[in-house]
Amino acid sequence: MAYSATVSGERFSFPDLRTLMARATPLRSGDQLAGLAAASATERVAAQIALADLPLKQFLNEAVIPYETDEVTRLIVDTHDAKAFTAVAGLTVGELRDWLLGDTATPDVLASLAPGLTPEMVAAVSKLMRNQDLIAVAQKCHVVTRFRNTVGAPGHLSVRLQPNHPTDDVTGIAASILDGLMYGCGDAVIGINPVSDNVDTMVHQLELIDDLRQRFDIPTQSCVLAHVTTALEAMERRAPVDLVFQSIAGSEAANESFGISLSLLDEAHQAALAMKRYTLGDNVMYFETGQGSALSADAHQGIDQQTMETRAYAVARRFRPLLVNTVVGFIGPEYLFDGRQITRAGLEDHFCGKLLGVPMGVDVCYTNHAEADQDDMDNLLTLLGVAGVNFVMGVPGADDIMLNYQSTSFHDALYVRQVLGKRPAPEFDAWLQKMAILDTHGRVRPQLDRAPRALLQFPDSAEDAHVAG
């Protein structure tokens, strides 16, 4: 079906839904690279005007990637909840924006609407929104998940402790973990990106964290971010796998480029549930996404990168993950050119994921070949904190020495919790207080000499274990 709008006497036409979506999206370098971006600012607004008039029901009639050729489209269509959709079934995309901003759209109403929305509807409405709209609505979307603690409850902000090391050295990793814990970080997950995607490495790292967790009774979960097939092998060996990780994208072809399919994820999900390592809730998956990954794999199929990203959340949603992390500025300037584009993308991803009922965290980050710096990160981190992001990254000094990019630091996490009055996950908060790391006002490390000596000795024992092993 063709779409059109007239702006200042000039008529703009868009042959199909995916073209309309691509032309309506705010400017970013990845869509220019793919040849999908609007040719002018006026064309972009014309596309937004046409999109605003589009009935939401049209998204149920016209798929951006054909049902027959794409298992993600089949997932989206086959799991659409028509009953939940009735609340907004009569609206256009523009009317949905107004409705979302209004008082009718309470947290409870939004939670029950989520299964009735498709990724394309959500991506479309985000393209009409200003940054403040993305923040205002996301703040009303509460997605709470549980494994050994509770992540995403209003008033709380969790942190993934990311203790990477360029040679997977366990002592170096242990030192970074201890540092992060002493800053009150690590309640979302203690998650290592291994250098080597290798079962032995994965098992060794999992055992390191599990030993620490059990010795000090830390109410958190661990993850080694290896490929899902590696995690399956580790689980066969009965290694202590809490969460299964995988990078995912919004189309079958893009997922193939990651070496995965929905059935493989299903197999991993079942295996992780069977481990029964959770205590509070059975959210056992951890997914990462990011705009541009489909284009990077030459699998964008004419879809703009923000719409493709939102489709990835449909994949995530099916497996009821504990955490979904959009690694917003990781791929580089050919997809998100500068701080301005990274900021916009981070707010869009968080909004779209939350509206679909996905527990969103954001890796607020950039690479050294992008036009961005720490000030851009401070801005986005603060905006996401206001928007109610479930978790952010805690990387020592914001500098990941293995992945070679800059993210948010333990200090940054403290900053955003402080200025917005946020607390860690409740169970972790209690543990921090018990360990004298956090005082009752939420300030970290008030009295270093009261922190348990055994905890401070942990990296030494990791070294011993490593030598012994």
């Binding site: 540092d179 990651f258 070949h369 914001a398 200090h411």
Partner: protein, 249 residues
């Protein structure tokens, strides 16, 4: 500022920025400025150019029986375009295609500047000097130096040269602690359109990471695995130490 001595001890275990202490919840000024210096150096590294004459000289002097060296360029015209047009960085410029004559090779090596010229000039000659003598049973094709190249350019080069396998050595994006890190990507049956899941990668090859002699052992092991299984990518799991990483693809 609060005293943080107990944590300073931990800094000997890792180059990660731990045990820095706090000014309120912020970084102490010294560490704030340290970070800015590292960022500035990494930014400058992205924009520095590779001296291909010096590289060629280093390769011929370091490697006994150095293969024939061919120099080509990608379709990128300048650094700004390189950063924004990965599609052009993955293709050989039209005029240089004739330099790539088809032969019968088991393996060809390609060296590209990528995002860090320094990573290449410091580490690629050492890595090849260690690797090539271990491959004497294989037919090793010409060594191709590709200016402004991305990982994918190895696919076109390998296909043109008729190689069964291509190994791409390329400067990884610079990190704050490692502005000169080399990546090695191995692709079985290189041809245009190969996906990243069809490659294996060894990353972080540099003096403070995976040192070239150790990287060479892993590289040779992966090359042998690929020859034996006739594939690379997610299907090739190194039972030793397979490395995954990031470089300009």
């Amino acid at each position: 500022m609060l005293p943080d001595e107990p944590w300073r001890r931990l800094r000997r275990f890792t180059n990660a920025r731990i045990g820095m202490g706090r000014a309120g919840n912020g970084l102490p000024t010294k560490h704030l400025l340290d970070f800015r210096v590292a960022h500035a150096m990494a930014r400058d590294s992205v924009h520095s150019a590779l001296d291909f004459d010096a590289l060629e000289q280093a390769l011929t002097s370091r490697i006994a029986h150095c293969p024939q060296i061919i120099r080509i360029a990608s379709r990128v015209t300048d650094r700004a375009e390189y950063l924004q047009r990965p599609d052009l960085g993955r293709r050989v410029v039209e005029a240089d295609i004739v330099k790539l004559e088809t032969g019968e090779w088991d393996i060809v090596f390609v060296i590209a500047d990528g995002l860090s010229a320094e990573a290449v000039s410091r580490n690629a000659p050492d890595l090849l000097a260690e690797t090539l003598p271990q491959l004497s049973s294989l037919r090793v094709g010409p060594l191709v130096l590709a200016g402004q190249g991305r990982v994918g350019i190895g696919d076109e080069i390998g296909e043109r040269l008729g190689a069964r396998m291509v190994v791409m050595l390329i400067g990884e994006r610079p990190g704050l602690s490692s502005p000169a890190s080399l990546g090695a990507y191995i692709t079985w049956q290189p041809r245009l359109g190969r996906q990243n899941s069809e490659r294996n990668c060894i990353s972080n090859i540099h003096a403070d990471g995976l040192v070239p002699p150790v990287a060479a052992v892993r590289l040779v092991s992966l090359i042998r695995g690929a020859m034996k299984m006739e594939l690379t990518g997610v299907g090739l799991k190194d039972r030793g130490q397979l490395i995954e990483g990031e470089a300009p693809d």
